[in-house]
Symmetry: C4
Subunit: 206 residues, 4 copies
């Protein structure tokens, strides 16, 4: 990594660290004097689950950003702007998450789930833009060609998958959340594992 991409990474990781740590502020001290603490803590499980999921999702986005910048060796003005756009998507995540946590079990679950999944769709597109640009502009380490190819394959599924999630969210907010978890695990996997998951299908077609 050059000194310049190292600095882009340093700023980006600051933004990731801020965003992932901010969300703990939304956890309220349970048991507001009325009931007993233990049962009150148990009753608040949805907000703890939302916090845990968001941490996991932003953590996985960090892993992906980390992975991309292992291969990106040079910088350019367009890279700075594309990276800022991606960071914009990251910092926004806590907002639709809070909306979803507040509305998941109300009559407004559908718009909340659409907003939530829409955010993830946009982030998937921005990850692809950053990566495709870096590949085409020749910003990658020449030694990364094989690994980069695997990443391109894994990422190419992203926008389509998240578009499907968005469609599912129209029908069932809960089902779209479950799909989201599956997708998060898919993108947490190292690219060579994730793309080999697809191999059986390719094999079946033969």
């Amino acid at each position: 990594m050059s000194a310049e991409t190292a600095r882009i990474v340093s700023f980006s990781y600051g933004v990731f660290a801020m965003t992932i740590t901010f969300m703990v502020l939304d956890l309220n001290i349970a048991g507001n004097g009325a009931g007993r603490l233990a049962s009150s803590l148990v009753r608040q499980w949805p907000s703890y689950a939302a916090f845990t999921l968001s941490f996991a999702f932003i953590g996985i986005m960090w892993i992906n950003h980390h992975r991309l910048f292992t291969h990106i060796r040079r910088s350019s003005n367009a890279l700075l702007v594309l990276n800022l756009l991606l960071l914009f998507g990251i910092t926004v995540v806590p907002f639709p998450t809070a909306v979803l946590a507040a509305y998941l079990r109300t009559g407004d679950a559908r718009p909340a789930a659409l907003l939530y999944n829409g955010t993830y769709f946009v982030i998937a597109v921005l990850f692809n833009l950053l990566w495709q640009y870096s590949v085409r502009a020749g910003l990658l380490d020449p030694a990364s060609a094989a690994a980069a190819e695997k990443i391109s394959q894994q990422y190419s599924y992203g926008p389509l998958f998240y578009l499907i999630c968005l469609g599912v969210a129209w029908i069932s907010a809960s089902a779209s959340l479950a799909l989201n978890c599956a997708l998060a695990i898919f993108f947490a996997l190292p690219p060579h594992v994730a793309t080999s998951l697809k191999k059986p299908n390719a094999g079946m077609a033969r």
Copy 2:
């Protein structure tokens, strides 16, 4: 970049990352039980627009800071102080932004817009001070002479342009905001592109 300027950059990027991420805290979860979520989200567009604009403006300031420190290779006590002054300006930005978002469509739009544009004028002056000092004190990488010249040209327009914005804000808050967006794009452009934008005018004079 020397180890010492690398440390200045590391601190500065922490401040930029904090400032740019803080603003998402101002986004409220829409639909306070009374209305329907979807329409309530739509109604809140001005606060989303303000958040997006601020992110873009601080992001562009980060790009500029990043660009300057690509050329600055040595440090000095005065550089530390000038950089702190600039960071002071950056951390202040969310405050006039929130004031403008709250007052843009009220009878107090003028003082809000003056405060907002005044902040940007001061930041433009501080960017110029930091850069002009670095050039004159010989802190730049000798290999950067040509690129530095382009930056000096681009930056020399800054204070004047933002002073004009300030004047426009006296007449129309909205017009000054539009001018601000145009200026942000001008400073997001790489210096050799930004300065060549001026060429056609020079050409027409011939």
Copy 3:
């Protein structure tokens, strides 16, 4: 340290810095108009004590993370995930701390102390997982073998000790807090000192 582990460290330290600084936000300006400031400041000592303890505990966790990554030279996908899990535990700390501070002198001291000590037990397990994995996956600097052995010894006591704390918390919240302080000092000690503290016992057994 390779460039890649340096980047993991940079992100992790951002999360540590955020978490340790956040807690000052919980300090209220004393003397809400009614009483006199001086006596009001004195009366608030429990919240100052809680802030100081949390800072010390998270600071000691940072020292431990810092120590581990002095020896870890290579990265892997599993390391990224285990490090994220550990950071999750760290960012959570302010929450059980605030709960304990609010309930320590009420009838709900027991569930508050169980939650608090449970968090520390989980963090001790996560530290062990991260370290044991790094040792077995061969991610350590070969020159670190002797120092690594000492760390493994010191860490092997962690989960058991914190499990004992959890048991003590069932009987007395205050006693478990005192034990916690003793353990924090044990893990603040450099590994070669901490493990030699055990030597006398071994000697007595001979």
Copy 4:
């Protein structure tokens, strides 16, 4: 700087960046509907002045930390702990600042000013501890001997000066604030300039 001190610096700068940026959160949007924005902004000058002073003071502490770690080349367990103690002092600063801003013009100005100056006295002691330890433990770059001597001289005045401030605060909160500003400028000066300020006095004695 070794890789290990670079990591200490990276964590420390994260804490500095957080602390210095946090304070902008205390600025309220002026003009709560009742009065006119412009006059309301003017009326709030004390909170803007407090924000500016705190930014300047923490900024100058950062410059000093930065200066010390330009010379510190090796690390040790004691250095980690002393640095954490100093960072504890830094993160605390916003609290006594907010107390002073709230009580400066009330009958409780004295305890507020004592708390404020007491914090600065403790920080001055911690800076001296960190530096004296580093000098005696041989952690400095051998090439830094002359510069280090100047720093030791400048720092040796710190605790005494801040103790005097503390005494002045007993008599007049405003006068102690003015002294604080003078001291901040003294510690912002590069050590060779600051120590030569003392020379004239020594000369007058001849």
